[in-house]
Structure formats: C-alpha cells, structure tokens
C-alpha cells in the first residue's frame, strides 16, 4: 500500500450519524455586562456617558421642581406667585381654570360641551374597523354614518341637514351603480350630477321635514368653534379627505390620458410650490371676493378645503413614490389574469403601493395635524389661537407662556406620537414578505 493511498483513505470521510441541533450558547448576561459593553467600553465612551448623565441631571433638576411644585389652585398669575412665595413652580392653575376654553374655545355653548366630547369618543368607534383589521366588521356601517353624526353633534341644528347630505351620497352611489356598466366616467359624473341635484332639491324640503319631525340640537355656528376641538376637527376631516384625493391625484398623474395627467401635475406642482399660510389667507380673504355677499360659505369649510388641497398634493407625491416602487410585473400579472383597471388598482397595485407609502403618508398626516395651528394666524381660535389670544391677553393670566405652550405641545405630542406608533404597528402587521 503506497503512502499517498493511505493519506487519501484518511482524508475520505462519510458521515454516519447526523449531529442533533443544539441551542446557541448562552451569552454572558446581566446588567453589569450590558453597562460595561455599551456605556463604559472605552475611555472616550466613559467620558461621553458621564457628560450625558450630567446633562440629563441638569435638565431634570431644572424642570422637575418647576413641574411638580406647580400650583393648581389659583385664579390668576399673581395669586400663583403669592402661593409660591418665591419658590420655583409652574402655575398650572391656568390650565385648570381655562380648561374648557382650551378644549372648546370661548364661545361654544357650555351646556353643549358633551356633544363634541361624545363625537370625539365615537370617533374611535368609527375608526376602529378602518384602522384595525381585527375589529368587528359590522362597525363599518357606523363608520359610514359617523361623519354625518359628528357634524350633527358638533354643529347641531336640524338633524335633516346631515340626513339629506348622507342621502345625497346614497343617491349618487345608486346612480353610479346604474351607469358604471356603460363607462366609468359616465357613472362618475352621473353620480356627481345626481347628488348635486338631490342636494339642491333637498334644500327645499328640509324646512318642511324639520317642521314635521323637529329633531334638533342647539345650532352652533362655525365661528364659535375653538380650542383643541378645532384642531381635531380640521385634522381628522382634512386627513380623511386628503388621503383618497391624494391617491386619485397620484393615479391621475400616471394616467395615459393627457388631460387628466396634466390637470393632476399642475395641481400638485402648484400646491406644493405655495406655502400653506398663503393658502389660508386666500381662504380667509380672497375667496370672499368670489363668493356672493352674505354667502354662508363658512370659514371652517374654506379652511378645510385649503388644508385638504395642500395635504393631498403631498400625499399624491408619496403615493406616486409607492406606485413607482412596484415592479412592472405586478401590473402585467394583474392584466394577464383579465382584471380591469379599477380591479387591478384596488386589489393588486394600491394595497402594495400604500403599504410602501405608509411612513410617508403618516409623515404628511402628522405634519398636517400640527399645521392646523396655523389657522390662529387668520383669526381662528384653535388651541394656539386661544392661548395667544383670549388667555394670554387676559389680565389674570398675562405672562403664563411656559405652562400654556407646554400644555399645547403635550396635547399635540400625545396625538402625533399615537399616530406614529399606530403606523409602525400597521407596517409590522402588513409585513408579508418576511413573515
């Protein structure tokens, strides 16, 4: 037997048994190890840790006494100062004393506060089936009537106004169903025309209906809306309107039909090129010139239109990014299976494109919600408007900046952080590729 042969025989190998899977080795654990590895791994790191700790301590030692030593019971800043008697402390009393003003504004009738509060609570019921796939599906009809119900609760007046408004949508939908078989455009414009005709006719019968069945709440005009309620109204309405409009604009921008494409491009580019605040001034002042004198086209509605246009242009661009990210094969596979354009969009393209767009859409939504405070510039008394106007201007609370703006910031933070957390949860839910 030669040497090489023996070596080869040694090298040859056949496994006769499978090694059973074993758990990975348990790493050295414990908080001490974590600290050592993450905070004190080197001289530089240790130094940074110490400096950071000092900075945190410095901030906390300055703010904590101020926050927790605050005065909750006082009728004016002067009284606060007397109670504190030179010690550090916030004057939280202003929030307590002006609580309803901060939430509802000055002029909303006090005995009707329950109405917007109820609308706010019901908002969560209405949103649940839209936001959470696991929520009961039979809440969806409630979601559909919620906008009309909320309008009735907040603005009051005759119940027949929102009922007729809702009925107009139903009429439009029925006409759409009838005509869509002929062509989509036919159904779409037919539905709009039918709804408009229905609404103008219903204006005539509403007083009669109200006389027959007087279901009414005390009517509150738009100029009496204020406080954080106004921010919430503008935020929810504008986000929920700008999402579908933004999607439609994004699809229109991709359209093969040049007219539709150019209308969408011009709209998007124009709106994105203009600061929101100018649009709000336009809503406030300029629109009034185009409207008949004494017209009832109310300011909130005008502001809603402007903010919605603004946000939908941004959402359109976000959605366009999502659409562009989809491989062409998805469109082709949908087409090859015989799906028509609306089906392909609704079932294949948009679910994927919107999923990609969630972070961008949420970004726009959060930005929009914070931008609702800009209406304080056009003499609307939203949360910031209330603080800057009636509250800080009052003799009692002149000078309580930190507490009031801190409170406003906290309210906005809670809402925006909530939206952001929700979107991250949703992204995880929709993660099918790597599930």
């Amino acid at each position: 037997m030669s040497d090489t042969h023996a070596q080869a025989a040694q090298l040859a190998f056949v496994r006769t048994e499978t090694i059973p899977p074993a758990p990975p080795p348990v790493a050295e654990a414990g908080i001490v190890k974590w600290l050592r590895e993450n905070l004190f791994s080197s001289v530089g790191n240790t130094l940074l840790t110490l400096v950071s700790l000092w900075a945190i301590w410095w901030v906390l030692s300055a703010t904590m006494p101020w926050i927790f030593n605050g005065v909750w019971n006082a009728d004016s800043l002067r009284e606060c100062r007397e109670i504190l008697d030179g010690a550090t402390g916030a004057c939280w009393a202003v929030i307590r004393e002006r609580w309803t003003q901060l939430l509802f504004g000055v002029t909303y009738p006090a005995d009707s506060y329950w109405r917007p509060t109820l609308a706010f609570v019901l908002l969560f019921v209405a949103l649940a089936p839209v936001l959470f796939p696991k929520a009961p599906r039979n809440l969806l009809p409630f979601t559909a009537i919620y906008p009309f119900l909320a309008y009735f609760l907040v603005w009051g007046g005759s119940v027949w106004v929102p009922v007729m408004a809702a009925a107009g949508f139903v009429v439009g939908y029925l006409v759409f169903q009838r005509l869509v078989a002929q062509s989509f455009a036919m159904g779409f414009f037919g539905a709009i025309a039918a709804a408009l005709v229905f609404w103008s006719l219903s204006g005539l019968v509403t007083p009669t209906l109200t006389a027959i069945a007087p279901v009414t709440l005390e009517a509150v005009p738009s100029r009496d809306m204020g406080g954080f309620m106004l921010n919430l109204i503008l935020g929810t309405v504008c986000v929920s309107l700008s999402l579908p409009i933004g999607i439609a604009l994004a699809l229109g921008r991709q359209s093969d039909m040049p007219i539709i494409k150019w209308i969408c491009v011009i709209f998007i580019e124009f709106i994105r090129g203009v600061p929101l605040i100018t649009l709000l001034f336009v809503a406030n002042v300029v629109l009034a010139y185009f409207l008949p004198p004494n017209s009832t086209f109310d300011l909130i509605l005008r502001v809603i239109i402007m903010i919605t246009m603004f946000a939908s242009a941004y959402i359109a661009e976000v959605v366009r990014g999502g659409l562009a990210a989809l491989p062409k094969g998805q469109y082709e596979a949908a087409a090859a299976l015989g799906l028509d354009y609306p089906q392909a969009m609704r079932l294949i393209i948009l679910p994927q494109a919107l999923k990609i767009s969630i972070p961008g859409i949420v970004n726009v939504a959060v930005g929009l919600f914070k931008d609702t405070t800009l209406v304080s510039v056009i003499a609307m008394f939203d949360l910031v408007g209330m603080i800057r106007g009636p509250i800080l201007a009052s003799t009692e609370w002149n000078g309580v900046y930190w507490e009031l703006f801190g409170f406003a910031a906290a309210l906005f933070f809670v809402v925006c952080y909530g939206i952001s957390q929700y979107s991250q949860w949703l992204e995880r839910q929709l993660q099918t590729e790597r599930r």
């Binding site: 998805q330 087409a335 090859a336 299976l337 015989g338 799906l339 028509d340 079932l347 590729e433 599930r435």
Partner: protein, 268 residues
C-alpha cells in the same frame, strides 16, 4: 457542416402522449403582424397559426422579440399592423375584447409575478372571484385542486415570499390554470430558477401538455422542446426564421442562423 449536439431528454420523466392531439381548429391566428417600439421594428411580418392542442416552443437569441411576440397575443403589448385572432376574437383596441381574451389565455412569467401581499390561495382565487364572478368557496376548491396538481397544496396559506423559486413558479402556473384558460403562454418560465428547481417546473408543464393544453413556450430548455413540443420555432431579429417538428428542427436545421444558435446553446 458543423455537428449539432443533440438535446438529451433521457433525464426527463417519460410522457404519456395519449391525450396530446392536435386538432385542426385554430386557437391563435397571426397574419402579417408588425410591431414597433418607437422607431425600432421589433416584430416583422409575423405569420403564425396555432391549432388547438399544439405545444409550440419558441427559441432564439436574446432580444429577438420572443417575449414581445407572446405578449402581443394577450395584448400586454399592442401591435401596430396585421391581425391577431385569439380563440375566434380579434384583438383590437376594444378593451372588452382584450379582457375577454386575457381571461381565456393564461400567462406565466419569467419572474413569477405572484402578488406578494396575498397568500398562495388568495393569489389563485383572486381572478376567478373578480373576473369570472365565481363564488368564493367554489374558487377556493378549484384553487386547491390546481395547487394539489402542482404538488404544493400544503403551502396554500403561506405568502409567496416564503416559497422557493420553483414553488413560486408552480403557484404561478396554478394561478393561471384557475381561470381555466384555453391557451397557456410561458415566457422563459425556468430561466430565473436554480438548476435543481428547473425540473419540478418542467414536470408540471409536461403534465399540462399531457392533458392536451395548447401551449406556447419561450424557453431554452431544448430537452423539453424535443420531448414535448410538436413544433419548434426559431426567431431572430423580429422574424420567424425557421419552424419545424422537433426531430427535423434539431436533426437537420436549414438556416445558418438556426445552426449557429443551436450549436451555441447545446454545445458546451
């Protein structure tokens, strides 16, 4: 003459030819069809008649217009001149015609193009439910039937991203079959797959051929062509250069370009 190496079908499953009959009924008729991409003349005077039950393999160098040709058949691409009749319906710009034809013609893509946000089962039931208006339950039964046929019923509730390439391509085939198409188009169904997965997809296609499906397959799997096809078409520069029965096509190619192509693709 250069020696053309021959494809080796031995390592493929033996096939049952009892149902593989070509009828004299026309499934697809293409007459004088031309297509341009802008100024670029991709397809030139294509004439091709496909009879029911035919299995046609189309081969040719990359860029010769094979994909474009079969994509014209279900109107994923629009042709500018000539006539295409599919299953008795002429392809025109009438959208309704196009949707009808698309639901009769199944298509399998190189990159599968499954819908990643839907489960395998939902991928298969979507078109029957929305296009054919099949009740959901029935559509699911059909889908399970075809998933069983392509041998992955146990994956029905997974998402495409969890499957291997070969499995995804078999799902794509099942998804097309759920529409009960009369004609199946395949655009390089195995060229994005790892070697060990090619066979499982080819086996599925062979099974389909055995049942008498009319198939147009763009592929470079010459073993498959020799074994399954009744006609092999060679395309180059947007033209059909040569077509023949596989025996004659591989054994005695006429055109110089065909010979060159075959020696390149078969000789190693």
């Amino acid at each position: 003459m250069t020696e053309i190496p021959q494809p080796h079908p031995e390592n493929l499953t033996p096939i049952d030819r009892s149902h593989m009959q070509v009828s004299d009924e026309e499934a697809i008729e293409i007459v004088g069809m031309n297509k341009w991409f802008g100024q670029f003349h991709v397809l030139r005077d294509i004439d091709l008649t496909v009879y029911r039950g035919e299995r046609i393999v189309i081969c040719g160098p990359s860029g010769s217009g094979k994909s474009t040709l079969i994509r014209c058949i279900n109107a994923l691409e629009e042709h500018q001149k000539g006539k295409i009749v599919v299953d008795g319906t002429e392809l025109s710009s009438n959208l309704r015609n196009i949707d009808t034809i698309r639901s009769e013609v199944g298509m399998v893509f190189q990159h599968f193009n499954l819908f990643p946000h839907l489960t395998i089962l939902e991928n298969c039931t979507l078109a029957p439910i929305w296009v054919r208006k099949t009740p959901k339950k029935e559509a699911e039964e059909t889908a399970m039937h075809f998933l069983t046929k392509v041998k992955i019923p146990e994956q029905a509730h997974k998402y495409p991203g969890q499957l291997s390439g070969g499995q995804q391509q078999r799902v794509a085939i099942a998804r097309s079959l759920c529409m009960r198409p009369k004609i199946m188009l395949f655009d390089e169904p195995t060229s994005a797959l790892d070697p060990e997965m090619i066979k499982e997809v080819l086996d599925t296609m062979i099974e389909l051929a055995e049942e008498g499906m009319t198939m147009l397959v763009v592929t470079h799997e010459m073993g498959f062509a020799r074994q399954v096809a009744n006609r092999v078409i060679f395309m180059d520069q947007g033209q059909i250069v040569e077509q023949n029965e596989p025996e004659a096509f591989f054994g005695n190619p006429q055109n110089e370009r065909t010979k060159l192509f075959l020696s390149q693709i078969l000789g190693h």
